[in-house]
């Protein structure tokens, strides 16, 4: 009934636009609105994905496009799973993800907890802390190479000034045991604010009355922290951890610019291996297979992530 009236009034309005789309139903409009996005993603994401799946079963090399392509079946996959270098790269990635997340969560949560005291001027300082995470990891990471220079680099100078170690011996990027840490430091510097911001939202979502009740029950500050603050902020911390986990699993920019995977292959994370195989050795088929394996891993993580996301949303 209402629709009919609306329709009649609509017919009376002399809008050219109105005339053109009169015939489109809500359902049609929904598809009209959604399909361009889906089509774009099919063209730029899904079609290439299927192409990569096809290539992963071949010995195709992108630098020799005219060579006859041979079907290898699962040989590429078998070789990857038996490849010592790939496993080392996965271990390096895991090591890197573990330490960055641990540091970022500890520091990020502590900062959020402190900011939540709402001291004077906290909004200004919070914004200032957030700046590094908005910047380009590549461009800023590249500059860290300068800060890490032995002797002339500010970072090495400060460390040697504080610790008394001669400045020439602080070789952050070329020392085998320090190079992974040089990346972890920059990543932590850059992304701790991210974890902090999400934790802060978590802490602010805890209603005041719970603390009031705890206070009435004479619960100690320590007890309040462990039984109210931490459990209630936990979904948010989880969210931050998952976000950072996925991002750092894909990590490429910073590593590529800071160490390029070196010295040797000490900082060669999965993305760097993939780049070396695909764009330096041009083993397109082999690297496609590795890419598909990474897809599956990330897809699994993403699935868990979205479930956690919905849980946080429901609160």
């Amino acid at each position: 009934m209402l629709n009919r009236t609306a329709e009649n009034v609509a017919r009376a309005t002399p809008e050219p636009l109105a005339r053109k789309v009169r015939g489109i139903s809500d359902k049609g409009l929904a598809w009209l609105f959604i399909s361009p996005t889906i089509l774009l993603l099919l063209a730029i994401n899904i079609f290439p994905l299927f192409w990569a799946i096809y290539l992963s079963f071949t010995n195709y090399r992108a630098n020799r496009p005219n060579e006859v392509v041979k079907n290898l079946g699962f040989a590429n996959y078998q070789r990857i799973l038996g490849d010592q270098d790939i496993w080392i790269a996965m271990q390096t990635t895991a090591h890197f993800v573990f330490w960055t997340i641990l540091l970022q969560t500890l520091i990020g949560f502590t900062l959020a907890w402190l900011i939540d005291r709402k001291f004077r001027g906290h909004a200004f300082w919070t914004t200032l802390i957030l700046v590094p995470m908005m910047l380009s990891p590549a461009v800023v990471g590249n500059f860290w190479r300068f800060l890490y220079e032995p002797q002339i680099g500010l970072f090495s100078y400060v460390i040697s000034f504080v610790s008394g170690i001669p400045p020439t011996s602080i070789q952050m990027l070329s020392n085998v045991s320090l190079a992974p840490w040089s990346i972890i430091i920059v990543d932590t510097w850059m992304w701790t604010p991210y974890v902090m911001l999400i934790c802060l939202a978590g802490l602010r979502s805890i209603p005041e009355y719970i603390y009031e009740a705890a206070e009435v029950d004479r619960a100690s500050n320590w007890r309040q922290f462990w039984s109210i603050t931490l459990p209630m902020a936990l979904p948010f911390i989880m969210l931050a951890v998952l976000f950072r986990g996925i991002e750092n699993f894909k990590m490429f920019d910073m590593v590529n610019l800071l160490t390029g995977g070196g010295p040797g292959s000490t900082t060669e994370v999965a993305s760097i291996t993939l780049k070396r195989q695909a764009f330096e050795s041009w083993r397109t088929g082999y690297s496609s297979a590795f890419a598909i394996i990474l897809f599956v891993a990330v897809f699994g993580l993403a699935n868990i992530y979205v479930k956690a996301l919905n849980k946080v949303k429901q609160r």
């Binding site: 402190l114 900011i115 709402k118 300068f146 002339i152 610019l257 695909a278 397109t284």
Partner: protein
């Protein structure tokens, strides 16, 4: 209750506030040092930039900016003396180092590429994202949750893994190293963020507004155009800035898929070299110019930041 507690029972005490404030301020100041160092280095001369110990007090110079925008060749003093008087400050500075300006560097075209690609892809992503978000927000779409997950999941693929087939596809289509190719790619990456963020913003606009407009005789499309879009402007602007920042900062795709005409600033800046290695003042100058827009955007966005970085999952 005792009379000594002037504050609320749960509010932190003044002392704990002061300690918290001190720690936060200390962290903020330390974390900002690398950025200040970039800024300072951009105004150093090359010898000052590599001095030991690192110079905190120095005579500012715009040599880094001169070097960033020009290419130079080394010449004999006789040749330089035979030239006319120096035109402008950069010319003069360069001549003091026994060099002459040979021409403009690639920085400006790379910077312009960054602008074209970032703005182009942001426009497309926000346009498509707004339509889809409205579709998902207001209509019953079959498999909506699966489609939304599909849209988001494309964001989780490692860029290098995506780059392999894209590289081949673009080579076939003639899109390698073109701005159009990069705009398409960044649009595809950003549209997931745009759909998720904008769906959140549009969900918050009451349906009653459109329903009222439709009763007043508007078609669905007119109602969308006249009532929903104006109310979603804040959300659209915030989304646009997030997309812009991503496209502006992106490195992996740009480094692998562009090399010349369509190269953006992030893969270009690390390649700035002078005589005998990296020209750090020039790199710092390029980095400074590159970062300033982001700083402005961060300040504009600070209220929406949380929402943007969590794909709209956490709203303040």
């Amino acid at each position: 209750m005792s009379l000594t507690t002037a504050h609320s029972v749960v509010a932190p005490s003044a002392g704990s506030k002061r300690i918290a404030g001190a720690i936060i301020i200390a962290y903020a100041l330390i974390s900002i040092v690398p950025l200040l160092w970039i800024f300072a280095t951009s105004f150093k001369t090359p010898p000052d930039s590599i001095a030991y110990p690192p110079k905190i007090v120095f005579q500012p110079s715009i040599e880094g900016y001169c070097n960033l925008f020009t290419t130079r060749t080394r010449q004999t003093p006789e040749y330089i003396n035979s030239l006319g008087p120096a035109t402008g400050f950069c010319d003069e500075t360069v001549r003091k180092r026994n060099m002459v300006i040979a021409g403009p560097s690639n920085f400006l075209p790379r910077f312009v590429n960054s602008l074209i690609i970032a703005f182009g892809s942001t426009f497309c992503a926000v346009f498509l994202g707004t339509l889809s978000a409205y579709g998902f927000s207001r209509f019953k779409v079959p498999l909506a949750d699966d489609l939304l997950f599909f849209i988001l999941s494309t964001r989780f693929m490692p860029p290098i893994a995506v780059a392999i087939p894209i590289y081949l596809m673009y080579r076939e289509l003639g899109l390698s190293d073109t701005a159009l190719g990069m705009i398409l790619l960044y649009t595809a990456v950003n549209v997931s963020l745009a759909v998720w963020l904008l769906k959140g913003f549009i969900d918050e606009i009451p349906r009653e507004y459109e329903e009222a407009a439709m009763i007043d005789g508007y078609t669905r499309l007119q109602a969308f155009w006249r009532t929903v879009l104006p109310q979603a402007t804040t959300g659209i602007a915030a989304t646009a800035i997030f997309c812009l920042i991503f496209a502006w900062n992106e490195y992996a795709f740009a480094a692998l898929l562009t090399s010349g005409t369509a190269q953006t600033a992030p893969p270009f800046i690390p390649t700035i070299i002078g005589e005998g290695g990296q020209d750090w003042p020039a790199v710092a100058a390029g980095t400074t110019i590159f970062l300033v827009p982001i700083l402005v955007f961060t300040i504009l966005l600070r209220k929406q930041l949380l929402r943007g970085i969590t794909f709209g999952a956490v709203r303040k």
